[in-house]
């Protein structure tokens, strides 16, 4: 366990850091035969309480019903968990199905189909949803919503309006337009050890942010970097290598070389700048969300610095009272497989408004079977909400009805794009930092 990433507030010269990862840690939790029904139940409970509190301002005149209490033709509001019936959704049972088609299936990038439909479930039962208001391609299994509508003759529920939870309340951000510029650097998908990674590019990046490169102006900016966040997929970890046997020396080195290389570079960063490293899909970490911090035995060099923090994924922290929340990208990647949006940023915004980071978890996105809580529920609105390992750098600033302001960032895969993202803590302004190498 990372010593520095506890709750302790670590005084630094440049900024004040406070970890908020506690809810993503699963130290005491155990597998004791619990199932996924409990996390769904916890989620329904949390979100329903919230939605119920909003209904009086939304549609005060309408009665609130359970699925069971529906009466044909009677207008009402129901709250429950959505389930999307998807024709193309692959299941583990397919592995056992008898017939193989002659041509191998091309894996589609998305499992949507025009026949998909939504069902709403609460403790009392399920009801099929109809109507053009609620678009199946936007919503996903696991989400809790309030719906206004009425039961049709066929026993379905005709949806007339939808209430989502909306942006959570936000703590005030210290507004200090004349204050110092302080930068946070985000990078993801370093993929050390993979074929797409270019060690030189990474070295350039390290040199740049540590102030060993560039002109004076650039060095000036580098000096103002107060935090580096690595959002997952730092190495390419060949999980398949482990199949019960002891490894041969060749395989051992294949396994350990990338982490060693990573450690060397991280040590250079940690020597000067506070560094948060989050696990991602390809890292030597567990699979299910929340992913637990990478073990420090993997980083004998950098872990020696107290600026090095191994964090969970999702990861949340505060820097000078600016609140950050982010993941290594799995939650949004999964949404993109099971629903549609015009860009990744849209998905990000959507999850914030749903107040749930990963509704498809556990249905299609593995997660720990929590029994009494749902850590993916977004209690407080972050100022910065980021995801790692995306195709390209995109950002936008959204504003909520309650004066919330959120910077959304999609961090590209560094190994493929050579791009990191720099954000100014003072005004949440963002720009890309690209490293091209002519050598490839």
């Amino acid at each position: 366990m990372e010593v520095d990433s506890g709750n302790g507030v670590v005084e630094r010269k440049q900024s004040i850091y406070k970890s908020l990862d506690e809810s993503f840690e699963i130290q005491k939790e155990m597998y004791r035969g619990q199932q996924y029904s409990q996390i769904y139940f916890a989620r329904l409970h949390l979100m329903r309480t919230l939605l119920y509190s909003l209904i009086p301002t939304w549609k005060p005149h309408l009665p609130v019903c359970t699925v069971l209490g529906l009466e044909q033709g009677k207008e009402c509001i129901i709250v429950g968990t959505l389930f999307k019936h998807m024709k193309l959704k692959p299941t583990i049972l397919d592995e056992y199905s008898k017939e193989r088609s002659a041509s191998p299936l091309v894996k589609p990038h998305n499992f949507m189909h025009s026949d998909d439909y939504l069902i709403l479930e609460d403790e009392s039962g399920r009801v099929k949803l109809r109507g053009t208001i609620l678009v199946p391609s936007v919503y996903v299994t696991g989400l809790v919503v309030a719906l206004h509508g009425k039961e049709t003759g066929a026993g379905d529920f005709m949806v007339e309006d939808i209430l989502e939870a909306g942006l959570p309340p936000q703590i005030d951000r210290p507004l200090n337009p004349n204050g110092d510029d302080k930068y946070v650097v985000f990078v993801s998908g370093l993929s050390v050890g993979s074929s797409s990674a270019n060690p030189l590019q990474f070295q350039l990046f390290v040199d740049h942010i540590t102030g060993h490169l560039g002109d004076e102006k650039e060095q000036g900016i580098a000096a103002k970097i107060v935090q580096v966040v690595i959002a997952g997929n730092s190495v390419e970890f060949p999980r398949g290598l482990f199949n019960g046997q002891n490894l041969g020396s060749k395989e051992q080195s294949k396994l350990s070389e990338p982490t060693k290389e990573l450690d060397i570079l991280l040590t250079q960063i940690a020597a000067g700048i506070p560094l948060d490293i989050m696990p991602g899909t390809s890292d030597p970490a567990n699979f299910a969300l929340p992913q637990q911090p990478l073990h420090k035995c993997l980083f004998p060099g950098s872990a020696a610095y107290n600026t090095f923090r191994s964090c969970t994924n999702p990861h949340s922290f505060e820097l000078d009272n600016v609140r950050f929340l982010g993941t290594s990208g799995q939650n949004i990647d999964n949404l993109a497989i099971y629903s549609d949006a015009s860009s990744r940023i849209d998905f990000l915004e959507r999850t914030l408004k749903w107040r749930h980071m990963a509704p498809t978890s556990p249905n299609t996105l593995g997660c720990y079977p929590f029994t009494d809580r749902d850590p993916f529920f977004v209690e407080a609105c972050p100022h910065v909400y980021f995801i790692g390992n995306q195709d390209k750098y995109v950002t936008s600033l959204i504003q909520g009805s309650d004066n919330q302001v959120v910077r959304l960032i999609s961090i590209p895969r560094f190994a493929e794009t050579g791009t990191a993202v720099v954000m100014n803590l003072k005004n949440l302004e963002c720009h890309a930092l690209s490293f091209g190498t002519q050598f490839d």
């Binding site: 049972l93 193989r100 030597p284």
Partner: protein, 995 residues
């Protein structure tokens, strides 16, 4: 006004006045009203031969003697007259070719249908007639079901629209049935409409699908004398409508309501049962379906009502005040063997048990509702164990609701299967084609169908069928169909297949084989028939040709096949899916019927066996196959101007496989077509050889065992076809099936033999290294009877016994399927002693007996596949480094328990002191590597955990409720149990890294 003979309940009643049989026809009108029609005036009768020299006086005397004898044997017949009359009629027996057109026969008309049998008995035994001495009579058509007799004589077939003209019927003053319409009429006034044109439509049958749940006591299969019926779920559908219009469930004790379902809760079982009875009466279904209702649900309800003393319960039929009762019946047929079943007859309603129908029509490895729905509907069905059922029932209204939802699913699934498999369409078509009532199709064998057609045809020709006494013993089985020697091997050139279209029916038509054309050997000499008028079959029988007299069987076959051609042509035209369903059902029914005619003549225990016909058919068949082989190999040669010499590599009952030597599918197809046309021209019409498909590549393993890719057009293959290869055998574990399928895929589709070999090696290595998913190793067998009645010790029976000792509540009972795996035990333990419950194995980490799986499960089927392909198959597959097994499975468990919580190093398993928790000093240096190993393991398990458990949530249809399912038939059941347990351990191990 129209209505349909929906079913076979055309029973007779004794009307109080005249003691005559009254036929009852139940059916439904186009508008969907149920009808009960009482038909009067139809009399039971049969024929007997008329000994020569018998005059009118003798007949009169015979009448009196018979009457007397009848009275003697049946003094409880209060009928004034048993034998109504005896007439002299001109008929001809169907047996043997005869030159006379007719002979006198006696038609004996009796008062009641049951008298036919006793009267036949008397005549069989022979009676003394003054002046003629003791005469024994040969009877004809004396074993025909009365209602069938009626249908034949009135030209009514099953699923037939019948019209009763206005003014020809009378309403019944005091209604006797629960039908909406009820009246009586004279049988001669009925107008039967042949099922064509507007009368080919299906009647709007009302179908009730139901399922019951009983609260069994722990450790026992539910028994009606103890265990209450706690829930009955019902789904009612109108034929042809997609959605059910009634869904309800009756529960004992309160039950929370369920969306879209009418939940009725009661405090007593009596109310539950009676409400169900009322439902049946109110809905008045024509057809009642369910899964295993005939053997379980129906008898259970009736017996339970009896135990509870609810006398008014069993009035479920359409006749008022008539009780439904249970009869034990056995039903045997050549195709399906002997089956015991309970028969619950319900007047006016057809019971259609999906289990029986599927067992009859499909060969599956398991017939549990779960596997059946996985197979046909492609979805798993959660399964709740009996012991859980009682717990759910004893919980609260929420848990009972859970049960009710489950019960409803089970009630709806049969309906969905019925729709999916188009049973009603196919069966009604079959009833129409063969002329028997719907209910016969399920409860009787094939022969009644042929019999019905034969009788109908014979009637038109003035022929009558003798009643042969059943010989009983299977006298000398005649030589069956031949297959040409299979030249086993792996053929990498296209193999063209020449098929005889409906070979046996064609032979019967071509050579005019029939009862009525067979020449009795004595007659053959006497009659001196000119050779151009007869055929001598290869077995030496003589049949007259059709120019002399056309046979009845060929005529039936011609009609059937012509009708099939018509149906197929119509099918091509038809657009409407419902119409297509009907037509497709019809063409299938026609095909099956045509093929069963041959079987009818060969059924030695059947109604009218005639081995002369059946053995002639097969011998002709053999000849044709050999003839084809000769012609192909003579004509398609290099000498004959072809590129290669053709070679016949295999011939089956009705097909011949030829390797023409060409390497493209296209060329093989051309030659195949040419050969088929050429050879067909040498056969007598309608025998015809057709070219249909090419196999390429083709793996011929032995007689009746092969696999190949099936091509009907040269661009792309249609599918992979396998025959006789272990993909569906019941006693194999899934691993075998997977391996066989995967190997065939690799060999045939990917054409990569080394990859197939590598795959086998990898899988074996996985098996030996304990990395096999347990569910792949599970073998299931049904526990059909109690332990004592098994003669030899069987693995599943022994296991069931051991499980009962462990925990009687969850142990399998008779009727359950027992799932087991074979585990390692003391060296000389027998295989049956080494069977173990997979769950138990998961929990206790028992080592799997790899050797057993290798030798008894996978080796044979794989060898069969690879032997024709590899020279040293055995060596290639089963020798080498992949055969090294890993012997370190689970030895520590016991010891660790003994010494308390002694920790061991994660790296090398040596015990370590508690202070350094994870690794011993030697392994410290490998920390990162070993950690990665632990974490990789955890990651893999987590992924699997998520996938299986969410799948089960989806299967049970709820996110918010716990999965309860214990379906051992489901491939992921063990996996999810196992991953749950593995996960617990892996997480604990991982936690040791975080000190």
């Amino acid at each position: 006004m129209d209505y349909v003979v929906g079913d076979g309940h055309n029973e007779f009643l004794q009307s109080s006045s005249g003691l005559a049989a009254i036929i009852r026809i139940f059916g439904v009108t186009k508008e969907g009203h149920s009808v009960c029609c009482f038909v009067h005036g139809f009399e039971p009768y049969f024929y007997a031969n008329c000994p020569s020299g018998m005059g009118p006086d003798d007949i009169f005397r015979l009448h009196q003697i018979l009457e007397g004898k009848m009275k003697e044997t049946n003094n409880n017949y209060k009928a004034p007259k048993c034998i109504r009359r005896i007439e002299l009629v001109q008929k001809r027996s169907i047996m043997y070719y005869q030159q006379e057109t007719s002979q006198p026969f006696l038609k004996i008309v009796v008062a009641l249908p049951t008298m036919v049998a006793s009267c036949r008995g008397i005549l069989d035994r022979g009676i003394q007639i003054d002046g003629l001495g003791i005469k024994s009579f040969m009877t004809y058509e004396s074993n025909i079901n009365f209602s069938l007799r009626f249908m034949i004589d009135c030209n009514i077939v099953g699923g037939n629209w019948i019209e009763v003209p206005r003014g020809k019927y009378n309403k019944i003053s005091r209604s006797l049935s629960n039908c909406q319409l009820e009246f009586y009429c004279l049988f001669s006034d009925l107008i039967s409409h042949a099922p064509e044109g507007e009368f080919s439509t299906m009647a709007p049958y009302r179908i009730l699908s139901f399922d019951i749940e009983c609260a069994g006591r722990k450790g026992h299969f539910p028994d009606p004398s103890h265990d209450p019926v706690i829930q009955i779920a019902n789904v009612v559908t109108l034929l042809g409508e997609g959605q059910p219009f009634v869904r309800n469930v009756m529960t004992l004790k309160s039950c929370s309501s369920i969306a879209d379902v009418d939940v009725m809760s009661f405090d007593t079982e009596k109310e539950v049962l009676l409400t169900w009875r009322d439902l049946v009466r109110e809905v008045d279904p024509d057809i009642i379906i369910g899964y295993n209702i005939c053997k379980f649900d129906m008898p259970y309800l009736i017996e339970r009502a009896d135990v509870l003393g609810i006398a008014e319960f069993p009035m479920l039929g359409r006749i008022r005040n008539s009780r439904v009762s249970i009869k034990d019946t056995t039903f045997s047929s050549r195709q399906h063997g002997t089956r015991e079943s309970k028969e619950v007859t319900m007047e006016g309603r057809v019971q259609f048990d999906l289990l029986q129908a599927i067992q009859r029509d499909y060969k599956l490895s398991s017939y549990s509702l779960n596997s059946v729905s996985a197979h046909f509907l492609n979805e798993q069905k959660e399964d709740v164990h009996h012991s859980i059922i009682s717990d759910l029932h004893n919980g609260n209204s929420e848990t009972r609701k859970r049960l009710a939802v489950y019960c409803l699913k089970d009630a709806y699934l049969p309906q969905r299967l019925l729709d999916k498999l188009m049973f009603i369409y196919n069966y009604v078509e079959m009833a129409r084609v063969t002329g028997v009532p719907l209910s016969f199709l399920l409860s009787r064998g094939q022969s009644i169908k042929v019999m019905s057609q034969l009788l109908r045809k014979a009637k038109q020709k003035n022929l009558i069928l003798p009643n042969v006494k059943q010989a009983g013993s299977e006298q000398g089985t005649f030589e069956g169909a031949t297959v040409l020697e299979a030249r086993t091997g792996f053929y990498e050139k296209p193999i063209a297949t020449l098929d005889f279209a409906s070979l046996y029916p064609s032979i019967m038509m071509a050579y005019n084989l029939c009862y009525s054309t067979l020449v009795n050997p004595e007659d053959a000499r006497k009659l001196n028939l000119p050779p151009e008028c007869v055929n001598k079959t290869p077995t030496g029988e003589t049949f007259v040709r059709s120019n002399l007299q056309k046979g009845i069987l060929p005529e039936i076959l011609e009609e059937l096949l012509a009708a099939r051609r018509r149906a197929k042509a119509d099918l091509k035209e038809a657009k409407d899916p419902l119409e297509r369903a009907v037509l497709d059902g019809r063409q299938l029914a026609l095909k099956i019927s045509a093929n069963s005619v041959y079987g009818f003549t060969g059924a030695t225990v059947g109604q009218l066996p005639c081995l002369e016909i059946s053995s002639s058919v097969t011998s002709y068949g053999r000849q044709m196959i050999e003839h084809t082989k000769r012609l192909v190999e003579d004509k398609f040669t290099v000498l004959g101007g072809y590129e290669h010499n053709a070679e016949v590599i295999y011939g089956d009952t009705d097909s011949v496989m030829v390797q023409f030597g060409v390497s493209s599918v296209d060329a093989a197809m051309k030659l195949g077509r040419e050969a088929a046309d050429y050879i067909s021209s040498t056969f007598i019409n309608p025998i015809k050889l057709e070219f249909e498909k090419v196999y390429y590549p083709y793996l011929l393993i032995s007689k009746k065992r092969y696999a190949g890719l099936y091509w009907t057009n040269p661009q792309k293959f249609d599918k992979m076809e396998t025959k006789g290869i272990e993909t569906v055998r019941r006693d194999n574990c899934l691993l075998v099936k997977n391996m066989v399928t995967e190997c065939l895929n690799k060999i045939l589709i990917e054409r990569d033999i080394p990859a197939a070999v590598q795959y086998v090696k990898n899988t074996i290595s996985d098996l030996l290294r304990n990395r096999m998913d347990l569910s792949l190793l599970v073998i299931t067998k049904a526990l059909t009877k109690t332990r004592d009645s098994y003669k030899v010790k069987a693995a599943h029976v022994e296991l069931a016994e051991r499980m009962r000792k462990r925990d009687a509540a969850t142990a399998p009972n008779v009727g359950d399927r027992v799932a087991y795996v074979i585990v390692k035990a003391e060296t000389n333990a027998k295989a049956y002693e080494r069977s173990e419950d997979p769950i138990f194995v998961l929990e206790n980490n028992n080592p799997i007996d790899h050797k057993y799986y290798l030798e008894n499960q996978i080796s044979k089927p794989l060898m069969r596949i690879f032997e024709p392909i590899l020279k040293n198959a055995n060596k290639e597959l089963f020798q080498g480094s992949h055969m090294m097994s890993k012997n370190n499975c689970t030895p520590n468990i016991g010891i660790a328990k003994l010494f308390g919580k002694q920790l061991s190093c994660i790296g090398c398993k040596t015990p370590i002191s508690n202070s350094d928790h994870t690794l011993c000093s030697q392994c410290k240096g490998r920390e990162a590597e070993l950690y990665c190993k632990s974490i990789a393991n955890v990651a893999e398990l987590e992924e699997l955990f998520g996938r299986v458990w969410t799948q089960c949530q989806e299967c049970q249809g709820s996110l918010l409720q716990d999965v309860l399912c214990t379906s051992r038939d489901c491939p992921i059941f063990y996996r999810r149990k196992k991953v749950q347990k593995d996960m617990e351990q892996a997480k604990q191990e991982l936690d040791r890294w975080n000190f």
